[in-house]
Amino acid sequence: MKTPLDVLRRGDTDVASGTMQRAPATRTPPARRPRRRLPNPLRGRWGVLVAATVLGLLVLGALGADGLRPAADLRSDLDQVLLPPSWDHPLGTDAAGRDLLTLILHAMRVSFTVAALAALLAVLLGGAIGIVAGVVGGAVDAVIMRVVDFLMSQNHLLFSLLIAVLAFPVAGGAGAVMLAVGLTHWTSMARILRSEVLTLRERPFFHAAIGVGAGRVHLVRRHLLPHLAPSAALGFVLLAPHAIFHEAALSFLGLGLPPDNPSLGTLVAAGQQALLKGGWWLVLFPGLVIVIASMCVGALGDWWRARSQPRWRSELEL
């Protein structure tokens, strides 16, 4: 049974006269065809689960590389040179006759470690600089932010090459890559955390803490860091796959890890030379690992970003 309120909501009654009338037909505008997008298989809850599972397997494979495929298997075997994927060598062999699966497992450990440490360096450095700029303010803030603007306006790959060249003799290949990536990617983190600090500084709870006698250290430790931690962690998640690409690029250019210390980048670089001899698997499989790991970390980062801070979506441009 319809209530008067239902009738009024439907708009099919002449309220003044109390008679029922059919509502005049209204022209509905033609529905817009939704814009087509490329399907993203890692969207949604199932996508996140798949990404977490695949990434977990990759990390487990990297950590258990010695158990799964001991490094002793990496000896050259000139009878097994450039063999395509087979039952004995599921991903084929390289130009030195080494099993590619074994190489990739060991390379993942190196690449993931370098990427994680590089991303950590960038987040810690950028976070510290951003917090100092936001908390101290004034001239210090202005100088820091102009330096950030300058660095962000430059091509960071060129800077990373310069840092890698300078650091290589001192820090070695892995250290040079970490420094090159970490020292060129702190700027976006600094800018984001500084803007968050400026917002937090104006919140009444921050003033209330000042009122009860909190000093700068207490304010940073108890009222800023807990609020900044999700952003910093998200920055790490987004920077890590980017660092894998940089490691690959620097190793490809000969400024990263040496060929005897396999990383995903050195494998792709070596595979590129074998490509002309038909060794397609040497580029495809290490490249696929880079892409899959990056996609999985990116999907998890997107999920976390949407959960913690939706307004971040367009701010962190790498």
Partner: protein, 218 residues
Amino acid sequence: MLRGEGLVKRFATGTVAVPGATIAVRPGVRLGLLGPSGCGKSTLAAMLALLVAPDEGQVSVDGQPVTRFGVRAPAALRRRVQLLWQSPVAAADPRMRIRELVTEPARIAREDPAAVLADLAPRVGLSPELLDRFPHEVSAGQLQRACIARALACRPRYLVADEPTAMFDVSTQAGLLRTLADTATEDGLGLVLITHDTALAQHWCDEVVEFGDLVAQV
């Protein structure tokens, strides 16, 4: 005595928030401050609580002139004047539990947080089961009680209450005002109650002044 003399505050936009106000309150006295919305009462409260520096004029606490404000002001002086905010939700760090909120002043002053909590929670009517909750897990009235406890944990001499009951229903208002009155009397606090409610100010305060009169004194 908490005294603000000829206080002027201008914002960067050119707006004059406080055009020159003089106010004084003694310990043990409840002073009601009346004024319409937007007249600058909250900015005046922030200046009296040493959180915002006046562009002109002088704030003094127990005869000691204050030259630096905000985090630069001496902590001991800041703790002597406490501000009770209109919105407890905004004034409480959302990532801190009620227990941490109330005991924060004790931790800053390196006092025993448990002793402070045991003393203050019953006084302001905070039940033990609320202490481990986050601000969004308690009602606004309960959160305002926690904010009162936090202010009292500083052992202040003066309390500036900026419309502390404006966002509550009548029964919660009555309970909060009773708590404020009891604690102010017990501790001999000088209390500045900023409110729109003329009847409340006249009934509850020892002295009542209009914001416009403060400005006119200059």
